[in-house]
Amino acid sequence: MPSIAKPTAIHPSLHRNELGLTIRDYEGSMSTLCAGCGHDSITAAIIRACWEISLAPHMLAKMSGIGCSSKTPTYFVSGAHGFNSAHGRMAAIATGASAANRELTYIGVSGDGDSLSIGLGHMCHAIRRNLKMLYIIENNGVYGLTKGQFSASADVGSKSKKGEPNRMAPIDSVALALSLGATFVARSFSGDKEQLVPILKAALSHRGFALVDVVSPCVTFNDHAGSTKSYLYTRNNMLKATETDFVPPASEILATIGRNGAVSVAMHDGSVVRFKGVPPDYDPTDREKVLDYLSEHHGKGEVVTGLLYIDESVPDMHELNNTPAQALAKISFEKLCPGSAALDALQEDFR
């Protein structure tokens, strides 16, 4: 048939998770992205992570802005509500959604254009609020949907399809987030599901805002020679600073200290993130060290990946606001409305 068949996020596994669901139950509708687009691999990783942690589909809220990346929430967990909102505003909308219902799990999917240009302010302030959500930047260095303009994450010297080099310094979401006090910062590669899935699972357990920047090549506009966001470039220059295992709450924890100074971090919800293969001088709980490590390797042109920094000690937006454990949207009206007697009493102040 003459139309191009799209890769659907299908996994052969028929294993069932704790909820009795197979991985197919976490799929969405068929992708309409370009064949080979990195974003589709991230979709697959999200599907796997949600399945593995046995997230109840209806308890997930999928948030996005506008862009190829922002389309992807249609392609996973069709049993969850999704909100493909407006360009750059996802963080703000997710903030309000979370304010109304903290019981849900929030996965936001954004692009480098969506997050680092038009939506930059909102993302920074969501970090500041330590909004509890998994925030994924599907980072391809370009605006995919509007056909290949450089985004703010394009590296100096990275070439456009036409061959013109970008000359402005990139905004590195990882460095930015760290400087803003972000409490969970990771970078991965759409081509490395092994690394990505455990990161996503850890992020979903994080107490606050979990930024996961995933290099996700745009095969149509930014996968050529000269691009620093291509499959080839990323594969060749990727440095795995950390590898992680995610141990869910119920499991028995074997907090072994690995060879290269492995560490375990106990998550707020009782799960554990186990770092394997951490470099000797690396401590994912020490912001300064992480920054030093990053800038050192960044200087060498390396794309440092892994769960890079984690801090479970900072309260999230709800804790800061002392909201109840129950979703605000579910609080009964009787509790919210002071009633006529109170109004009468109050009005004595207005005389």
Binding site: H81, G82, A99, N101, N321, T323, I331
Partner: protein
């Protein structure tokens, strides 16, 4: 209720005073004290605060109008000017009516060129007295205000008992301050009693305010949000809307703390900007919370894009627009009704929104509640268009009432059980008689899961780029908007016998226009009155307009925005609508209206004669 045409020797409870100050010197509390005392004396009164967009050092005025017949729109003739700002002496003294009075600080002599033969100058050595009696320089400045208040109490016959009582309440926990205030008050009072004859106008206790309260619109709006059960509020500070959120925050502290857990049953977020604020409201509305933001013109402009999203994706959102003078930054501390068109049609593409137009704090309370009901019932943004005059001035209004049987209208939201009963859920169909389809909330059931989008979608909620599917949805949206006309507050209509024409207004123009109609009536010109309270317009709006040969539309903007809306959204013929626009930024006064109606009527007659 005709206004007394003849001036009596001593006018009781019928005069206006203006107090000219420098902002940041603490005059607000002295002025408020006077206002509140008069209110407690049971006399109809209004206070208008005309303050600068500045924190300290610029001219600021406070106007008090006392009127036993209840005409409390802004007066333009001042019987007494309290001139405390040497920078504006010239203008202030000029504004006093013939035969009026000027009270000033006689510590320094008044420049002779400021003298007017036709007014009486009452000099009180305020600075000198305060310097002699207080030590700290800040206190000296503050107490000067209380001292002039004391002098006014003397010359106007304010009930000193009421004033002392007010000070007791205010400084219940601040004894030293209570002392100073007492001292300063009596410095002024005693001086005035000793030096001045009684004025030809004065106060006398009445009983007009028994069931009234003194409240500003923003506080009332916040109270409405509290009572409506709003739980999420997101905002970015902007004058004159900030006090909505300040009040809501205070109310929440008092009423929303869970007695068992200590948790706060609300989440108030100071957003990074207005784009975020409306985004948060939309996110919360999507998730089923009653959510609102408060802002002013510049914020509405910034919210334009997301308002279109909420309209098209059908998400409840409530926006309190406390209007100020535009365009652009404009005059942040002046009042206007300049966002009517912007709000009615906010966003690119074809959009129409529900707008409510309260006239005073009592309606702010009522309409704030209503706005949440409408937003949820019609799954759409709702604007409450208040303004600086309503929002930030204290108004005397009837006590607010609350019906404990009120339950929020959550609109069509399917719960898990209802979802069970249907075959398959589609977000945008079937629609009910008001063209509203049921929605579902996240977290309830996978069966209700759907994908919300601001991009083209069909009645099922699926993505579409096909004309017919697209059109089916936007056509329903148009019908839905029209259907809301039956649910919004009906206009207030008052007919007079032998009315020659209609006079239509909205919002805070109410008092001035009513007064104007009474004045005109006293001159033999009778007109019917209609105050529009919402868009889309209920049928009665069009009916009223059509019932009259012509109608004056009185509003506070340059471009006749309400008249424009009426033109576009009713079937009324153009020549039935005449415009009276007053938009300089101060609250409307009756004289502006009578003058303009009279002159336009003159033109009409002239034209009739010549044709």
């Amino acid at each position: 209720m005709l206004r007394a045409g003849v001036e009596k020797a001593v006018r009781v409870n019928d005069f206006a005073i203006k107090l000219a100050n420098v902002n940041g010197t603490g005059s607000a509390s002295a002025n408020g004290l006077l206002m509140q005392a008069i209110f407690r004396m049971g006399i109809p009164v209004s206070g208008k605060n005309l303050f600068p967009s500045n924190i300290q050092g610029l001219p600021t005025w406070y106007e008090i109008r006392v009127n036993k017949d209840g005409y409390t729109a802004r007066a333009l003739d001042y019987d007494l000017m309290v001139a405390m700002n040497s920078q504006t002496y010239e203008r202030d003294i000029r504004e006093v009516r013939q035969g009026g009075y000027v009270l000033y600080d006689s510590t320094w002599p008044l420049d002779p060129h400021l003298h007017r033969e036709d007014v009486t100058f009452l000099g009180v050595p305020l600075a000198a007295m305060c310097n002699a009696n207080f030590r700290e320089s800040r206190e000296r400045i503050l107490m000067k205000n209380i001292a002039y208040a004391g002098a006014l109490i003397a010359v106007l016959d304010v009930d000193m008992g009421v004033v002392e009582q007010l000070l007791d309440e205010k400084f219940a926990r601040k004894k030293a301050l209570r002392e100073s205030n007492h001292k300063a008050l009596h410095l002024g009072f005693d001086y005035a009693r000793q030096h001045f004859d009684p004025l030809p106008f004065r106060l006398e206790k009445m009983d007009a305010n028994r069931d009234k309260i003194l409240i500003d619109g923003n506080t009332a709006t916040a109270l409405g949000c509290l009572y409506a059960g709003a739980t999420v509020a997101a905002w970015y500070p902007i004058t004159p809307s900030t006090s909505v959120m300040d009040a809501f925050t205070d109310f929440c502290k008092k009423y929303r703390k869970d007695p068992e857990t200590g948790a706060m049953n609300c989440c108030i977020i100071q957003a990074e900007d207005e784009l975020a604020a409306i985004g948060m409201v939309i996110g919360a509305g999507w998730n089923g919370a009653r959510a609102f933001t408060s802002t002013s013109g510049p914020g509405i402009s910034l919210m334009n894009e997301l308002l279109g999203l909420a309209y098209y994706a059908e998400i409840p959102a409530v926006v309190m627009d406390i209007q100020r003078v535009g365009p652009s930054t404009g005059m942040p501390t002046r009042t206007q009704q300049g966002d009517l068109l912007e709000c009615a049609y906010a966003s690119h593409g074809d959009t129409k929104h529900i707008c409510l137009y309260p006239a005073n704090p009592a309606e702010c309370f009522e309409f704030a509640v209503k706005s949440f009901d409408l937003a949820e019932r019609f799954q759409t943004p709702v604007f409450l268009l208040s303004d600086l005059d309503i929002g930030m001035n204290d108004w005397v209004v009837p006590r607010l009432k609350w019906d404990d049987s009120y339950r929020p209208d959550r609109g069509r939201v399917l719960d898990a059980a209802q979802l069970e009963q249907i075959q398959k859920f589609f977000r945008y169909s079937p629609e009910d008689e008001n063209f509203v389809a049921a929605r579902t909330l996240p977290g309830v059931s996978s069966k209700g899961a759907y994908f919300t989008r601001g991009s083209g979608h069909s009645r099922t909620g699926a993505y579409t780029e096909m004309p017919d599917e697209y059109q089916e949805v936007v056509d329903r949206l148009l019908r839905k908007h029209r259907a809301a006309a039956k649910f919004v507050p009906a206009p207030v209509i008052e007919r007079r016998s032998r009315a020659q024409f209609g006079v239509v207004t909205l919002g805070g123009c109410d008092a001035a226009v009513r007064e104007a109609l009474d004045v005109l009536q006293s001159r033999g010109i009778a007109a019917d009155f209609m105050r529009i309270r919402a868009f889309p317009f209920p049928e009665s709006v069009e009916q009223f307009l059509n019932d009259h040969e012509f109608n004056f539309i009185v509003e506070q903007n340059r471009d006749a925005q309400m008249k424009s809306l009426l033109l576009l959204e009713t079937g009324v013929a153009k020549d039935k609508l005449r415009s009276i626009c007053v938009y300089g930024g101060f609250p409307l006064s009756a004289r502006r209206v009578t003058d303009r109606i009279t002159s336009q009527l003159g033109e009409l007659t002239e034209r009739a004669v010549h044709s």
